[in-house]
C-alpha cells in the first residue's frame, strides 16, 4: 500500500472511501458517535478536525527527519495538542459555538484519527502528500459525521435546525427517539458501515486500492 504510486488527487480521494477513517479504519469513533446528534455540531467539529489534522500532518511531515524515533510519540502529541489548543482558544471568541462544542474540542487531542495519521502516514510522507492526506481524511471524517447526523437528527427529532433556523421539518409527532440517543448512534454507524462494505464488495476486485 505504501509503495503504490501516490498522486495528490489520490491522496485526497482515498479518505472518503478506501481509507475512510470512521468506516474503514474504524478510528475516532468516540467523538463521532457522541456528536452526531445535531448537524450543526458536526459542521464545526468537522472543520476543527480538518484543521488540526491537516496542520499536524504538515508539521510532522516537515520535521520527520528531526524527530528521534524514541521520543516521536510525545512530539506528535505536543504538536497535535498545540493545534487543538489554538482551535480551542479561537472558538472561545465565538461563544454561541463554544457553548455547544466546548467539551468536545479538547478531546480532539486524543482522537485516534490524528495520532494514527501522524504515526502511520505523515511521519514517512512528503509534505505535499501529508497535506492532502490530512485534508482528505478530515473530509472523509466530516462527511460521515454529516450523513450520520442528518439521519439521526431528521428521524430522531423530526426536523433539522441549523443556526436557529428550521431547515427541514417533517411535521411528524411520533419520532423514533432512540435514534437521537446512544443506541441510535451505534445503529446508524453499523448501517453505514455495512452499506460501505456492500458497495465495495460489488466493485471489481483490485480496481481501487489505497
Amino acid at each position: 500500500m505504501e509503495e503504490k504510486k501516490r498522486t495528490l488527487w489520490g491522496e485526497l480521494r482515498k479518505g472518503f472511501i478506501t481509507t475512510n477513517p470512521l468506516l474503514v479504519l474504524m478510528v475516532g469513533l468516540c467523538s463521532a458517535l457522541a456528536i452526531s446528534t445535531r448537524v450543526e455540531n458536526c459542521i464545526f467539529m468537522g472543520l476543527a478536525v480538518i484543521f488540526v489534522l491537516t496542520c499536524s500532518n504538515v508539521i510532522i511531515s516537515l520535521i520527520r527527519n528531526f524527530i528521534p524515533d524514541q521520543v516521536r510519540i510525545p512530539i506528535y502529541i505536543v504538536v497535535i495538542a498545540s493545534f487543538v489548543t489554538i482551535v480551542d482558544l479561537t472558538l472561545k471568541t465565538i461563544p454561541a459555538v463554544y457553548e455547544r462544542l466546548g467539551v468536545w474540542i479538547p478531546l480532539i487531542v486524543v482522537n485516534c484519527i490524528i495520532l494514527a495519521r501522524a504515526e502511520g502516514y505523515a511521519s514517512s510522507a512528503k509534505v505535499s502528500h501529508a497535506f492532502m492526506d490530512g485534508l482528505g481524511i478530515g473530509m472523509g471524517y466530516t462527511s460521515v459525521l454529516l450523513i450520520m447526523s442528518v439521519f439521526r437528527e431528521l428521524f430522531g427529532t423530526g426536523k433539522i435546525v441549523l443556526f436557529e433556523k428550521k431547515v427541514i421539518d417533517l411535521h411528524i409527532k411520533a419520532v423514533p427517539m432512540i435514534l437521537i440517543m446512544f443506541p441510535g448512534a451505534f445503529i446508524t454507524y453499523a448501517l453505514l458501515s455495512a452499506l460501505l462494505q456492500w458497495y465495495q464488495a460489488r466493485k471489481k476486485p483490485g480496481a481501487e486500492e489505497g
Partner: protein, 189 residues
C-alpha cells in the same frame, strides 16, 4: 549513551519550546476577546437573575473588592438597581464545584431571598449534569428560598442523574447567601 539521552531531550525540548511560543502568541491575540465575551456573558446572566425583581444590574468593583478576600470563589458582584435607582438586590457571579466547575450567577434581593439562578458556563457532562443547569424549571425551585442556608433534598430536590450538579448549585446558592449576610452585617445599607 549520555550524549544520546541529551540529544533526545534537546530535540524534545526544542519542539516544546516552539509549541509554547506559538500558543503564547495565540493567547495574547485572543485574550482580550475572550475576556470581553466572558464579561458579556456574566452581565447577561446577572440581568436574567435580577429580572424577577425588575432590577437592572450594575457591576460593582467596590463590593467585589470587599467580598473577594473572604470568598475566593467570587468572580464579580452586580448591584441590582430598581427604576428609581435604589438598590433592590445583588447578583453574585461565582464558581462552584459540581462534577466539574460551574460558573453561575445567583440573584439575592434585600430580604435575602433568591431571585434567580443562571449558569454562566459549565464543564458538566452534556446530557447529565448540564441538563439540570440548563433547566429553568429546575432552577426556579431555588427562587424565593433563603436567607437561611439551603439543604439539598430538604429545601430543594436533587435532579435525578445529576446529584453532583445539584449539590454544586446548592453550594453556590448558599455561598451567595453567605455573601449577602456579610454585606448586611458589614453596614452596607
Amino acid at each position: 549513551m549520555m550524549r544520546h539521552v541529551l540529544n533526545l531531550g534537546l530535540r524534545l525540548f526544542l519542539v516544546c519550546a516552539v509549541a509554547a511560543a506559538g500558543l503564547g502568541f495565540t493567547y495574547t491575540v485572543v485574550k482580550d476577546r475572550i475576556a470581553q465575551e466572558e464579561a458579556k456573558r456574566r452581565a447577561r446572566a446577572a440581568e436574567a437573575v435580577l429580572s424577577s425583581i425588575q432590577a437592572q444590574p450594575r457591576e460593582s468593583e467596590e463590593l467585589t473588592a470587599l467580598l473577594q478576600p473572604a470568598f475566593p470563589d467570587l468572580l464579580t458582584v452586580f448591584e441590582g438597581l430598581d427604576e428609581a435607582g435604589r438598590r433592590a438586590g445583588y447578583a453574585f457571579v461565582l464558581k462552584s464545584k459540581g462534577y466539574n466547575f460551574i460558573t453561575m450567577a445567583v440573584g439575592v434581593d434585600m430580604e435575602g431571598k433568591v431571585t434567580g439562578i443562571k449558569a454562566v458556563s459549565n464543564e458538566e457532562t452534556p446530557g447529565l449534569g448540564a441538563v439540570a443547569l440548563d433547566s429553568e424549571e429546575y432552577l426556579s425551585n431555588f427562587q424565593g428560598k433563603g436567607p437561611e442556608p439551603l439543604t439539598l433534598k430538604v429545601d430543594v430536590d436533587a435532579w435525578t442523574g445529576a446529584t453532583f450538579t445539584s449539590k454544586g448549585i446548592t453550594n453556590g446558592v448558599n455561598k451567595a447567601l453567605e455573601m449577602w449576610r456579610k454585606l448586611q452585617e458589614g453596614g452596607e445599607d
